[in-house]
């Protein structure tokens, strides 16, 4: 598996898109720091960008890489290599190279700005960790979609829909149902609702850490009330980890049963 991971990783490191992605974050980091001149504010703005953009890039890249490397995959399948190693290796190759672009692209400007001397270092680290989680989650979901759809256009369509649903529509439905059922106690419902959306969960995780109650929103407030800051932090981290493990398991399962 490590060999496959290595080759997928190198393959992507040589591709133009990794650099585009890297430079985008570099630019974003530099611009935010110079415009805001305030690390904490920059971290909050970054959170808003990361939480929608990272899932989108993870989904698109995941689907694109799977379809583009189909030939390579077929070549590998005839070699004495375990099937699950091939797909998990490729998945990790994509997810790790994307995470690296994110961490380096955002990390470098912040390091030069002097993050190590600032109190915001933990907030910033958490932001990067959450970004990495989101990359792992959405790349895994994308691989699942691509494995289930032979048709590229369909695969891309479903992937975009998934992102749109979790990043935008889910919140809308959630909010509407909260308004609609406002006469009922909704604490548990909203708590569970946010667990089923990794984007919501990441937002809560970061906001809990930043401790900005005004920005927490309804679910965040419920979360905080219910779990308290520390326990809420642990619960959301565990659920995020589950969000990585479960789709990865499905990649393995789907790949094992598929015909090539």
């Amino acid at each position: 598996m490590l060999k496959i991971l290595k080759y997928s990783f190198y393959d992507l490191m040589r591709s133009r898109w990794s650099y585009v992605y890297f430079f985008f974050y570099l630019l974003l980091g530099v611009v935010l720091l110079f415009l805001n001149n305030n690390l904490s504010k920059a971290v909050i703005t970054l959170m808003n960008v990361i939480i929608t953009l990272v899932p989108l890039i993870g989904t698109i890249f995941g689907v694109m890489y799977y379809y583009n490397s189909k030939e390579f995959t077929e070549l590998l399948l005839a070699q004495p290599i375990k099937r699950s190693s091939i797909f998990i290796g490729q998945y990790l190759g994509v997810a790790l190279s994307l995470s690296m672009s994110l961490i380096l692209g955002l990390g470098l400007p912040f390091v030069f700005y002097g993050i190590f001397k600032s109190n915001a270092i933990w907030d910033f680290t958490l932001l990067l960790v959450t970004g990495t989680f989101l990359t792992l989650i959405f790349t895994a979901l994308a691989f699942n979609i691509a494995l289930s759809n032979e048709n590229k256009i369909k695969g891309f369509g479903y992937a975009i829909l998934l992102w749109l649903f979790l990043a935008v529509i889910y919140d809308g439905i959630f909010l509407m149902s909260l308004v609609f059922f406002e006469d009922y106690p909704l604490d548990k419902f909203s708590l569970i609702g946010s667990m089923f959306n990794p984007i919501d969960l990441s937002r809560i995780l970061i906001l809990l850490k930043l401790d900005i109650s005004a920005l927490l929103g309804y679910t965040g407030a419920v979360f905080k009330k219910f779990f308290g800051t520390n326990f809420g932090f642990i619960v959301s981290s565990v659920v995020l980890t589950l969000w990585v493990i479960i789709p990865t398991y499905f990649i393995k399962r789907k790949a094992g049963r598929k015909d090539f």
Binding site: E71, F72, A78, Q79, I81, R257, D259, F260
Partner: protein
């Protein structure tokens, strides 16, 4: 030795293999023939574990291949369509496959000379012509010296000289005692190299035997017509 029993494979509603039984003994060249869509590639891919059959067993040297992957160390496979990662060079690809198989063969140099691929070594695979890609494909297949060689349409895109070299190469490999499975639609090529014919029709083995046996069975004087007569009979 390959032993296949009651192999069934269905893609959606399309039943490709319908209880296929086949035994292939060690050593010699076996041609798997059949009309388009008769299940040749599906059969080959089932042996390789790329296609997972609904039911039936495949044993390789007495051991089932189900849920195993290490057995592929003993197989060299030439895929039908030579599609490679486009941004790699020929040299990098060869190196990578060697690394993945953890096999430090240097037979590739000999094969590169045989197919005159020296000048293409540093070129990207995406820029190669179909025939050149097929030659790279052949190098990748033959460089490991495995006891079982599976060639799916090996002649595609090859020029006449390369075709002659390929025939020599196949015969040389056979002399080493290897088992070679070939699918091809070029009947003259099959007639020249194959020891035995396996004819697939509608998902089962319609005929298995030598070319003279086939000629007697179909009462046709030459091989091409013998094959054609099976097809016309079955489609009549």
């Amino acid at each position: 030795m390959i032993e296949i029993k009651e192999l069934h494979k269905r893609f959606g509603k399309n039943e490709v293999l319908k209880g296929l039984d086949l035994t292939i003994n060690e050593g010699g060249i076996f041609a798997v023939l059949g009309p388009n869509g008769s299940g040749k590639t599906t059969l080959i891919k089932s042996i390789l574990g790329m296609v997972i059959p609904q039911s039936g067993t495949i044993n390789l040297n007495g051991k089932t291949i189900k849920k195993d992957w290490a057995y592929r160390k003993g197989i060299d496979y030439l895929p039908q369509i030579a599609n490679f990662p486009n941004n790699l060079s020929v040299k990098e690809l060869i190196k990578m496959i060697k690394d993945l198989r953890a096999n430090n063969t240097n037979k590739d140099e000999e094969l590169i000379k045989l197919f005159k691929l020296d000048e293409f070594l540093n070129k990207k695979l995406g820029n190669l012509s179909g025939g050149t890609k097929q030659k790279v494909n052949l190098v990748l297949t033959f460089m490991f010296d495995s006891p079982l060689v599976i060639l799916d349409e090996p002649t595609t895109g090859l020029d006449p000289i390369s075709l002659i070299r390929l025939k020599d190469l196949i015969n040389k490999e056979k002399a080493k005692g290897k088992t070679i499975l070939i699918t091809s639609h070029i009947m003259s090529f099959v007639e020249e190299v194959a020891d035995e014919i396996v004819f697939l029709l509608e998902g089962v083995i319609y005929f298995k035997g030598t070319i003279p046996e086939l000629k007697t069975k179909t009462e046709q004087p030459d091989f091409e017509h013998a094959i054609a007569s099976i097809l016309t009979d079955s489609y009549a």
